[in-house]
Amino acid sequence: MEVKDIYIRNMKTEDFKENEYLEEYVRELRANGVNIVVAKLDDLINWGRSNSVWPLTFATSCCGIEFMSLGAARYDFARFGWEVTRNSPRQADVVFCCGTIVHKMAPVLKRLYDQMAEPKYVMAFGACAIGGGPFKSSYHTVMGVDQIIPVDVYIPGCPPRPDAMIYGMMQLARKIKMQEFFSLSKDPQLWDLIPTYIKELKLKARELVYLLTHPKLWDIEVVNFIIAIMEKKGGKQ
């Protein structure tokens, strides 16, 4: 089965300014082909994940106010189901780096990121979080959060307008839609990042699905199974 084009209900694909990166990715996936059951399950999971991104309330400075505006009546990110802002990093999916990160804050942000449960995403919100912004020449500013934690989406602006933020969140949703839960990642670096128990779970699930979707293999398995039983019985005799 072919990998579907990424589609977001909220916005037409051609309205997004940057599509090449994702299209390239889709092409790459298609070249390899996907198992139908796995792909369907992945679609369901990605649908759930991309539509339910719970942000962590994390704001250090000015951009935090625009984040508040986003939650309030006019911009209302509840429409997209993102309004369940969690204050505990354990329950959040995405951390918005709203504002400058300074030397003293860096370990705190790192720890916060480590405390979050997988899958977790990071959005660098505003010029400061992207690369130091207006405070680039300062002695105490970290030049972008990507020096500390991996970033998924960058939203430029000082501070970005709430509309820009919605656009960025939809980009994140598109990115999530391209994720594979069951299939194995082809990127060895990414594979190393996955926790071991999820790896095991994924491998097992993959085996099971592979077995279930290849009826030819059933015969061998069943035959093997019967042979094993017979042998046991034979042994007893």
Partner: protein
Amino acid sequence: MNLETLQTLLPFAAIEQKGNTYNLTVPGENLYEAASLLKKDGFDFLWDIIGMDYGDTLGVIYGLSSSAAPVVLLFLKTETSDKEAPKFDSVVDLWDSADLYEREVHDFFGICFANNPDMRRLFLRQDWRGFPLRKDYDANPELNPIPLGNENLADMETLPVLNIMNEDDKFEVHETVFDKSEYVVNFGPQHPATHGVLHLRVSLDGEIIRKMDPNFGYIHRGIEKMSEAYTYPQILHLTDRLDYLSGTINRHAVCLAVEKGLQMEVPERAHYIRTIIDELTRIASHLLGWGCMCMDMGSITAFVYGMRDREKIMDIFEETCGGRLMANYSVIGGVMADIPPNFQKKIKRFIPYMRKMLKEYHLLFTGNPIARGRMNGIGYLSREKAIALGATGPVGRASGWSNDTRKIEPYAAYAKAVFKEVLRSDGLTFDRYIIRLDEIEESLKILEQLTDNIPEGNYAAKTKAIIKLPEGEYFQRVEGARGEFCVYINSRGDKYPYRIKFRSPSMTLVNVLKAIVPGTKVADLIMLGGSLDYVIPCIDR
């Protein structure tokens, strides 16, 4: 207060007078004596301590004012040539607000204050190398790499004290903030209720708070140091990001200070526009402050209402200058662009709408029995304590301290408008809550009077391409949304300032919190924080 009385009071001081401003220079060993005499003489408000690196010497400037005669400003200056271990006497026992100010000077310049019970660094980590605001600071990033581990708790808790003002032996006493037996809870740096990245370490006895220790610096961006390498128009952009909720007001202050230095005539039209924009900012800031306080008490709907009406102001800003939160509107000599044709119409539509909404707020929250029960009798701040702590703005006015700079020293077009300085006498949480809503009403009155009378003419005076401020010291104070915002510029005739200092109105408010919080409950801590409405990036700068 005049020159003669001051001279007889302080015979060892060199005094010069410029209008209502007095500059006193005293030798380092007479500092405490001078300070205590001035305090006795009525200078009960220490609004800031400015550290200076003059090149060969290190100095400290104490900015004093009096609650009885707030027009008078007094700069008490002293210097020391000892750059290795500079020491001055602490004035903490005279003014409560000196505590944080002295720590700040210590952090930036390495100056120690003898007898200050708490000589930790204020903004930077305790293990930071060097004193960044000194002119010979080595900004090599290898010296202070990005830390990946958390700060050592023992360092954070130990209070170094320089006890004896003795030339020969340096005697440091180490005490800790909290006992081992105390139940210490961290609020922040990442916490929904600290309004930014403030780190409060609170010692609890059940639900009751015993002690609180604020930690700053989680958003310290070094704006003052950066400004020393920036031209004046460049600095303006940083001021918006200090207290971002009253950004235009901060910017206004710097513009006024530079204009004062250049002795520039600003067109009347620009004054009017600036005043209107400032008042709109104040309303927006108070709306957010009100909303956040309600949210801290658990009423999220009130917060959304506040944000909803704030959007109307953001619309006006957007149409005027293109920015929402960061207006970047005032420039040296006037404003960036002329007002759009719809400007007055929109404001006139906004005023009655806001009045209606204020009534709704009172219905929703002010009269709510739970809200009244929560605010009732909690967080008393007396007038004397407010002055000693330097709690300017709505917090001071709620305690009955008349400190509105718009009245004391009318700048821009404030003299043209008739408005009342809202004063309350009780100094309780409810007063601090209601005073913001009352101030919105007063701001609406100012808007009403000014909007129709914007004079015709230029919106900005012509300035030179490169602005060089003549040698000297320039000072300007304005009324920010949270209190007195002051700018001190020391220029050596260059296009960059030699030293620029911003007085943060929020910093003293955290000290207020520290003073009023013991004995209250955890829930009150959050509510009191909301009622003081501080903005952390303004404190940390």
